[in-house]
Amino acid sequence: MAHQMATENPHIRADVIEASEFPHLVQKYRIMGVPKTVVNESVQFEGAVPENRFLMEVMKAQKKKQ
């Protein structure tokens, strides 16, 4: 879904990361379960969420920046 959002807006970059290959990031973001999503280092959530919830989290990260 993150990739789909990046297709819609050039301001959005979306990375899908294989957690087991990058253990230092698992530590950095304290990942206990997957999928885990981090938006702009400021918003984090766990689990596969529906489209509207995903969107809400992305928009939340926008507000935090301003």
Binding site: M1, A2, H3, Q4, M5, A6, T7, E8, N9, P10, H11, I12, R13, A14, D15, V16, I17, E18, A19, S20, E21, F22, L25, V26, Y29, I31, V34, P35, K36, T37, V38, V39, N40, E41, E51, N52, L55, V58, M59, A61, Q62, K65
Partner: protein, 150 residues
């Protein structure tokens, strides 16, 4: 030996033929093999990821693979903002911000296939309200999704 079964190859060939209209480039960042390897710097799945991309690209003329070395091709690493390997950037006429870090295997393989199709058609298949709301994003936003192979 091929990583993709004959059945999967046939399915994907058909799927790509029906959906891809534009060229999609898979920009792959890897580590070229040397005789001398330092265990801590060894990229575990670079070789397999490269093989997988080549096999996928072989299924449709619209799909190309460009490979770069994470160390030697520093200009490309910077251009695409890559910070670890293996990395795959899925580049379509409109999409530049879609990346995979690590091997796209298991469930993530289907994500790779969807990404290629979306890049090649420019349609994300998100709902209309979501697309409308996303237009409001005016600042650089970085989404990272952590997954494991299943």
């Amino acid at each position: 030996m091929a990583l993709l079964s004959q059945e999967d190859q046939n399915f994907l060939r058909d799927h790509f033929a029906k959906s891809l209209q534009a060229d999609v480039t898979l920009v792959f960042f890897t580590q070229h093999e040397s005789k001398l390897t330092v265990p801590a710097q060894q990229c575990r799945y670079c070789k397999e990821t490269g093989e997988l991309l080549q096999e996928v690209a072989g299924l449709n003329d619209h799909i190309k693979v460009e490979s770069f070395d994470f160390v030697k091709d520093a200009d490309k690493v910077q251009e695409y903002g890559v910070d670890k390997i293996p990395a795959v950037v899925i580049l379509g006429p409109q999409s530049k911000g879609v990346k995979f870090y690590g091997i796209p295997s298991g469930y993530e393989f289907s994500t790779l296939i969807e990404d290629i199709v979306e890049a090649g058609t420019g349609d994300s298949h998100l709902g209309a309200p979501t697309k409308e709301e996303l237009k409001k994003v005016a600042e650089d936003t970085h989404i990272q999704v952590f997954v494991t192979p299943t």
